[in-house]
Amino acid sequence: MSSMLLAGRSVLVIEDDYYLADDARQTLEDAGASVLGPVSSMEDALGLLDQTSPDCALVDINLGAGPSFASAQAIRSRNIPLIFLTGYDASTIPSEFADAPRLQKPVEARKLLAAVAALVASLDRR
């Protein structure tokens, strides 16, 4: 039952740490979601977004060159809800994204699932 929590959903994963990205992918796929990526750069993320529109996105704030919100902005502009993956404090996140859920790295599988499921559920209510 819970394994199909995210059946039919697609989630874009932007994360440059291989292990964390792969953990997220596996966790999401186990819950029935299809994963776009994982990608480790903004360019790759934008490339994927041009081709397809995921239900939601997991976004790492720092892809190696310090905090960046360009891909988050691109995702927002497409009206796709997102969750931040970060090791930073809340203060790093610009106010325009203050409402976006934030998960501390490294993320627990069940927390990740809970956050994605909550986001997807709020999508259904729209």
Partner: protein, 508 residues
């Protein structure tokens, strides 16, 4: 009385305090009692009231004061035994055994049973008054009110007697500690309102391990005290109280420079290293090398001449020594020079407050600059409730941060590969998170390390293979083929062999 003559009334100036005879309790009270007041120590039998009350009197004896122990329950011999167990004598303490007449079986002392209880009670208190007037002590312990309560038979008369005692003592230069063993069915809040201060002692049985004792100042008029529960143990020599750590009280200036790991590649991966005054969480599966990496940080500190302490919850010294030998790390030398202290902790025996006090003394007395806690899983086992673990750890880490200490926390995850289960959500407390993982190449299992998070400064966003070699920890170059396969398959697909790991440079 306890104060030296300062030429002004200490009650007015308020800076002269009376030591409670317990360093920990004095600390909690910010110096001790206000003189010439009546205090209540309450706690069930066996919580340590008599011991800490004797400490109060002995502190007076050391200052050459006259002190009096009035006992309605314990005999002088019983008290002498308590004292002996702690390596004390009752010399200098006047013990006044006041066995209430109607409880005495001695026919000479036995009063006629027709005496109304009112008279017996006031006779008891009158005997106390006479004794105190004759001796004129500056410290008195009254053991215990429970006996008085029994004599009084009803709350009104009991309260009247306690008030009589209070007023009698208030007119004298005398600091009084009354004991109550909480034997009455309901908690005696009246007593709380009569006493100038109330200190509660508790003993808790936990599911496994030694009992936990804790002390709390319930009330203390006019004194700013450290609230909440403080763990304590009873040892030879009295109560050892561990005042609850309040990080905000401790700050020293320090430079937030790097604390090298002894391995330049590892430092590079960490964006220069781990800074002083921060903490790092090393997570990974069992056996992946967390402790070895943590140990190399501690040994590098010892090599630099700094003091490092390794708190081991899970392993004995032998395991650590064997590990150090495998890695060619100079553990013996560091331990012999005293620069590295290894302390094994038995979580079943140690309360978190005692652990915190231990950490504190290694910083404040021994000047520790690097502290390793291996592991949080073991520490978790010591705590019945995870919420408190996180709160206590938060306070401890903040304290260590304020002191400029680098703290390394080791946390074992469940599982070997794939998404791992972390038993404790503490990463938000950590300034840096280093993840150690196994990976598989061509049927052999290897180890990799990456920095998942670092609050201050940047860090490498790469995964590096590492090996535990005979000459320490060796890091390979970034595993680029890993990050190249983000489109899918979770295996290492480098066309060429794994990059070889250079022998680590000279340590230190």
């Amino acid at each position: 009385m306890a104060s030296d003559d300062l030429g002004s009334d200490p009650e007015e100036t308020g800076f002269e305090r009376v030591s409670t005879g317990s360093e920990g309790l004095d600390d909690i009270l910010g110096g001790g009692f206000d003189p010439n007041r009546m205090y209540l120590y309450e706690g069930r039998p066996g919580t340590g009231k008599t011991t800490i009350a004797l400490q109060f009197l002995l502190a007076g004896v050391r200052r050459g004061e006259r002190v009096l122990y009035i006992t309605l329950s314990e005999t002088r011999r019983e008290l002498a035994l308590v004292a002996k167990r702690h390596g004390w004598t009752l010399d200098g303490i006047e013990v006044f055994e006041l066995v209430p007449p109607e409880t005495s079986l001695d026919p000479d002392q036995q009063l006629t049973i027709l005496h109304p209880a009112e008279i017996e009670l006031s006779e008891t208190t009158n005997l106390v008054f006479e004794k105190v007037t004759a001796l004129d002590p500056s410290r008195v312990v009254f053991d215990s009110l429970s006996e008085l309560r029994l004599l009084a038979q009803n709350p009104l008369r009991y309260r009247r007697q306690v008030l009589a005692l209070k007023h009698f003592f208030a007119a004298r230069n005398c600091t009084v500690v009354v004991l109550d063993d909480l034997s009455s069915a309901d908690t005696d809040l009246q007593l709380h309102s009569i006493a100038h201060g109330v200190i509660s002692l508790e003993q808790l049985a936990i599911d496994y391990g030694a009992e936990r004792r804790r002390i709390r100042v319930v009330k203390m008029r006019g004194i700013k005290f450290r609230g909440g529960y403080h763990d304590f143990t009873i040892r030879t020599g009295g109560l050892k109280i561990f005042p609850r750590l309040i990080a905000a009280e401790h700050h020293t200036d320090f430079r937030g420079d790097f604390t090298p790991s002894g391995n330049s590649e590892l430092d590079r991966l960490l964006g220069g290293g781990l800074e002083r005054g921060t903490n790092a969480l090393f997570i990974g599966a069992a056996g992946v090398g967390k402790s070895s990496v943590a140990l190399s940080f501690a040994l590098a500190a010892a090599d630099r001449g700094e003091h490092a302490v390794y708190f081991a919850f899970d392993e004995g010294r032998g395991t650590l020594e064997a590990r150090a030998r495998t890695l060619g790390l100079p553990l013996d030398r560091a331990m012999a020079s005293g620069k590295l202290r290894f302390q094994q902790i038995d979580p079943a025996e140690l309360s978190p407050g005692e652990f915190a006090a231990n950490v504190r003394s290694s910083v404040e007395s021994d000047g520790a600059r690097v502290i390793v806690i291996d592991s949080l899983n073991g520490y978790l086992a010591a705590m019945p409730d995870e919420r408190f673990l996180v709160l206590q750890m938060h306070e401890l880490l903040t304290y260590l941060g304020q002191k400029g200490v680098l703290t390394i926390l080791v946390l074992a995850q469940h599982g070997l590969v794939g998404p791992m289960d972390t038993p404790l959500d503490i990463s938000y407390l950590s300034d840096a998170v280093v993840m150690l993982r196994y990976f598989e190449v061509g049927g052999s299992v290897r180890r990799a390390l990456s920095v998942v998070k670092k609050r201050s400064g940047n860090h490498e966003h790469t995964i590096r293979e590492f090996q535990l070699t005979r000459s320490g920890i060796a890091l390979g170059p970034p595993l680029t083929q890993f990050s190249g396969i983000f489109s899918g398959t979770p295996v290492y697909r480098g066309e060429q062999e794994l990059p070889t790991i250079p022998e680590p440079g000279k340590r230190g």
